[in-house]
């Protein structure tokens, strides 16, 4: 049974503009799946449909085999943690501590354990010094850290990240990504990450590419992300390693590891030593 199964999904905000058209995909248990596409391609809409914030027009959404509808939406939401693009939309507590506590209380975590859990996750995202600060007064990137801590502390079975690290500095992004990866492995968490970060895509197990409301590619990143011209046409970008490999290919140097920077560097190094 797959944690997320979407079949023939359709949705529009008004009749003229279909935002999501005949979308079907599966997210496998324990996988790290990335969902990419140009602005307005329907990515965030799909996330909102999956957690029942928007109501689908046609098609079905199954979470752990259970159909999402008015009766099941509450129980399904308990399984899914979502971090939105703008963290301001999800702060409730007056302080960082209260905010992380709020979700735990909702999940009936024993109050005895709560402080330790809050401190663990606030520490993991680098916000331990800010426990008594007001979330709304933090910087954009700090808000994102707190929002992520609040969701991770609940250890959801399925984690949906909607550009959750877009405002972090590169180091901060890497810290958060490796924390997410670690939890992903330890808890066999299923992750669906909406992102524009090509490097994150290349490290994921599976990528779904959207264009104007439809899925246009669905598969392993090292195969899906090789056609630079096609990606540009989809308003996306190829990984730097692919672009460099294309330039080298024009000069007569054909490489096997275009999709992965380390592999490419090793390959070039062997070529250097050979001659």
């Amino acid at each position: 049974m797959n944690p997320i199964e979407v079949k023939d999904l359709n949705f529009s905000y008004d009749q003229h503009l279909d935002v999501v058209k005949d979308v079907s995909f599966t997210v496998e248990r324990g996988s790290y799946t990335t969902l990419i596409g140009h602005n307005g391609s329907g990515k965030s809409t799909i996330a909102k449909l999956i957690i029942g914030l928007l109501e689908k027009e046609q098609g079905s959404i199954l979470i752990d085999g259970e159909e999402l509808n008015n009766e099941t939406v509450e129980s399904i939401r308990r399984k899914i943690g979502i971090v939105f693009q703008n963290p301001d939309n999800q702060f409730i507590g007056a302080t960082v501590r209260d905010d992380i506590a709020f979700g735990l209380e909702n999940h009936q975590v024993d109050p005895k354990d709560m402080d330790a859990i809050i401190e663990k996750y606030a520490g993991e995202v680098g916000m331990i010094e800010y426990m008594n600060h007001e979330p709304t007064r933090l910087s954009g990137g700090q808000k994102q850290r707190v929002a992520i801590a609040g969701i991770l502390a609940m250890k959801p079975e399925i984690l949906i990240l909607d550009e959750a690290t877009s405002m972090l500095d590169p180091e901060g992004k890497e810290d958060i990504n490796s924390l997410v990866k670690q939890l992903h492995k330890e808890n066999n968490m299923t992750i669906l990450s909406i992102t524009h970060d090509v490097e994150e895509v290349m490290k994921s197990d599976h990528v779904i590419v959207m264009y104007e409301g439809r899925i246009v590619k669905d598969g392993v990143p090292s195969k899906m992300m090789l056609n630079e011209q096609e990606l540009v046409r989809l308003k996306l970008d190829a990984p730097y390693s692919v672009k460099l490999s294309n330039e080298l290919s024009k000069l007569g140097i054909k490489l096997k590891n275009a999709g992965n920077m380390e592999g490419m560097v090793d390959e070039l190094c062997q070529l250097l030593l050979k001659k």
């Binding site: 307005g40 972090l168 590169p170 180091e171 330039e247 250097l272």
Partner: protein, 285 residues
């Protein structure tokens, strides 16, 4: 008149339990007619710094000089409207401030607010929308029914329509798709080169800093730790390594190849040049 910070401190919520010193004794002069990047870890004071430029924040101590204005806590800062017409500030997530019924009306709000005539405001707004890549099919749509990235463009158009001399952008490309981010950065370069706009960009994207900006200011814990020309910052001395930030992709590849024995000049300026240099090395030309 340049843009300058002189011994500027800024404290949020002073004399409360939430008191927080966000800027510490900032001395900084920003070159006019250049594109300056402001980088640094989250919470280092970047947004606080730039919000001083249109007097949204006024220094707790010290003085900010901007164009012909002087802003400090011990004088009455009058007529901020004329300053805000010349210094346009685009916030993080500006799309949350869209509120009009249609996109065109939303962009027109700023110019009308600055007493431009209806017709003039309309013209300026249509030009601004074209600049950010939104054609007339968007004019009558609701700004609430478009995607996050499209909303961002509408919000930026709203500032461009006012035609400010100084444009301050707080993470303008966060959340934009790669082609959208690229065209947005190219738009800023054009505004700078063609219309001599002074542009400040708060960003985390080191590739953008390298490829599009002239100068770079690095902040850490409320202080400015480096202020250099972009080329000096990346290619001269050790400052880029000292600040422990990830290098732009091109430089990372160059570094990785150098470690493996490739003799490459770190100053290689684009991907074609890099490919050529690699080929030379491999074929021992």
């Amino acid at each position: 008149m340049p843009i300058a910070f002189e011994k500027v401190n800024y404290i949020y919520a002073p004399k409360t339990p939430f008191q927080y010193e966000a800027l510490k004794c900032i001395d900084l002069a920003i070159e006019l007619n250049k594109i300056t990047a402001i980088i640094g870890p989250t919470g280092s004071g970047k947004s606080t710094l730039v919000q001083h430029l249109n007097a949204l924040l006024v220094p707790t101590d010290g003085t900010v000089y901007i164009l012909d204005r002087e802003l400090s806590s011990n004088q009455k800062n009058k007529d901020l409207k004329s300053l805000r017409q010349r210094v346009g500030l685009v916030f993080q997530f500006p799309e949350y401030q869209l509120f009009e019924e249609t996109i065109l009306k939303d962009v027109m709000f700023g110019p009308l607010n600055f007493k431009m005539s209806e017709e003039d405001a309309r013209q300026k707004s249509m030009t601004a929308l074209t600049m950010v890549g939104l054609d007339e099919s968007f004019y009558e749509r609701s700004p609430l029914d478009i995607s996050g990235g499209q909303k961002r463009r509408v919000a930026i158009a709203g500032i461009l329509a006012i035609n400010p001399d100084v444009l301050v952008l707080d993470e303008p490309t966060a959340g934009l798709d790669p082609q959208g981010a690229k065209s947005m950065m190219e738009l800023f370069v054009e505004l700078n080169r063609k219309y001599k706009k002074t542009i400040l960009i708060v960003t985390h994207d080191m590739d953008h800093v390298l490829n599009y900006c002239d100068n770079v200011v690095v902040m850490k814990k409320g202080e400015v730790i480096t202020h250099q020309q972009v080329n000096d910052f990346f290619f001269k001395g050790e400052s880029v390594k000292e600040i422990e930030m990830a290098l732009p992709q091109r430089l990372r590849v160059v570094e990785a190849l150098r470690e493996k024995g490739f003799k490459l000049d770190s100053k290689i300026s684009d991907i074609k040049e890099l490919a050529n240099a690699i080929k030379k090395e491999i074929s021992h030309e």
